[in-house]
Symmetry: C2
DNA sequence: GCGTTTCCATCATTTATTTCGATTACAGTC
DNA sequence: GACTGTAATCGAAATAAATGATGGAAACGC
């Protein structure tokens, strides 16, 4: 028996686009909401219209409304899309597998845990392995494919093999103990840092390196008092007045609130770091990985928009 | 509000492919039934599998079976596909519009009527206009876009602007009245035709032209006794013994059965004609037109396979 | 009335995906 | 152990999609 395919290709996403256009009464708004440009949505609707051989929307000058055919299809499409998405949820809850992520301590301790928690609600059966690593290793392991995903803190990354998705801008702050003399200054520049004791993260940390480079360029003499792999240790040492440290704000948010540490009004224009997801361009992203990326990007865009990019939700 | 699209593109046709594979328990058979090559179906299923993050089929050496996830999805997919196709039927029944076809008398009289009837059951509101034309005009009008579709009888067509879809091989037969002396021969070659009276179709008919050319090449002298635009007239004249005629078998199927005419055992290897749909390559084919093409090709492949091509059901 | 804005359609270009065909890999059969 | 039928893989060609830019038509402001 022959099963004929009487019709051209119709993507399930077109149905979603259709529904969104119907809801917004606007191609442009729908496109924005869906993360397309307007002409793409137009094209998708046209595909649907041609597939059905009918106009789906009556276009008046400014406003628009569904044609009767469009009206009839709306419910059907809604049902189809719902069934499809329900089925995805149903299956994803049962998905087993590995997802191996590498990230730096700063993020692992403060930004990621709630997201991982949410992820595991959708994919409870996934064996999620999160490795605390230093920057260079993350990059390397993603490149060789040993990690599915890396989450790093760095300046914008350009690499042949690696796709980097900026999640959010990560402000770095210079912290000191509340009694530190620099706390009294209403502005801390490089001059004021001269001769200070620094407490820094381990070698290979991108923001440490950038900071030291800057200090060097400005001729600041400084003294590295301690070098730790542990953020907790750094914070403790700063709190005990052993020196000052440059850390991601998110890592000291609580301490700043508690007034156990103070952010110095340090003005440096050049260091902007971004939390970024990195993955190998050629490696296939399955549903679970894509879901993780989506969680991360959504969590990020709650804050500042990641560099200037219109961060498309998921796009391998 | 932002509607996130969490998932890659999934074509509705993939779901059909999935169902067919599940039904056939075989990628290869499913591919044949669907009009794909095997590797395409494999790729489609892999896409689905990646989208859901699960294997859908357990592949054993020879046999295969659905995984539990596949089993769960089967019903959902079936429902989705049914809803989708029902919606297409629902809408197509309401589609209004024109569909203008040009064809030659031989086909219009014997092959097409039942197909047009079926077409109008699906698209009762379409204004279907069928114009009886001669070959050259059909070609010309399709080329200029004045006809949506042409249905012709010709040898394989190659043209820059025109896409020709072979429907079926159309045998031509040389008919005579039952009492004709050539009926007694067990083989009629060009030699036997020498001096015969021919009754032919109008100028511009492709098979008439081909036949005359052949006769000329073989040095056959003949006498054109009548030249008609009407097949009915030709058949009548042949029946009354005014001469013999070369016509498409389908045009005289009934008369041959009734023994009112006789097919001479004429052996000519060179003339193979095909019933073909022609349409302009660049012209958009809406649902109604595609449906018509599908009806025609399906009707055709009931007979002999059209030239050597694996005639894909619809492919603009 | 006339420019301006807003919104959709269209176009060309780039980019990605799909399809095919050929080949490889593998298991069951003879 | 060669053979057959079946699925996966790979490269190339065909096809489709997304984008950014352009054009046109209706509503809006003045």
């Amino acid at each position: 028996m022959t099963v004929t395919k009487d019709g051209g290709p119709v993507d399930l996403l077109y149905l979603k686009s259709f529904l969104e256009v119907a809801r917004c009464q606007s191609f442009t708004k729908a496109a924005e909401n869906l993360g397309y440009v307007q002409s793409s949505v137009t094209a998708q609707i046209q595909k649907l219209e041609n597939e059905y051989g009918v106009m789906l929307f009556e276009r008046y000058g400014r406003s628009m409304r569904l044609t009767s055919a469009g009206e009839q299809l709306r419910d059907t499409f809604e049902q189809i899309v719902n069934m499809y998405e329900d089925s995805k949820r149903l299956i994803s809850r049962q998905v087993k597998g590995h997802l191996e992520i590498g990230t730096i301590e700063s993020l692992m301790a403060f930004f990621l845990p709630p997201l991982f928690h949410r992820f595991l609600q959708s994919f409870p059966q996934i064996n999620l392995q999160v490795n605390p690593l230093i920057h260079a290793n993350i990059f390397q392991l993603v490149k060789t494919g040993e990690l599915d995903l890396g989450i790093i803190l760095d300046r914008p990354v350009e690499d042949e093999d690696i796709e980097a998705i900026p999640i959010r801008r990560e402000p770095l702050v210079l912290v000191a103990e509340p009694g530190h003399r620099l706390c009294l200054a209403d502005r801390v520049g490089f001059a004021e840092l001269d001769g200070q004791s620094l407490i820094v993260t381990e070698q290979g940390c991108t923001y440490r390196a950038a900071f030291q480079r800057l200090l060097g360029e400005h001729g600041v003499t400084y003294h590295i008092h301690h070098e730790f792999g542990s953020l907790e240790a750094i914070k403790q040492c700063v709190a005990y007045g052993l020196g000052i440290a440059l850390v991601p704000r998110i890592a000291v948010a609580r301490e700043l609130e508690d007034k156990r540490l103070v952010a110095l009004p340090f003005t440096h224009s050049d260091i902007t770091f971004y939390t970024q997801i990195v993955h190998h361009r050629k490696k296939w992203l399955n549903q679970a990985v894509r879901h993780m990326i989506k969680l991360l990007t959504d969590a990020g865009t709650g804050g500042e928009q990641a560099y200037n990019e219109k961060s498309r939700s998921t796009k391998s």
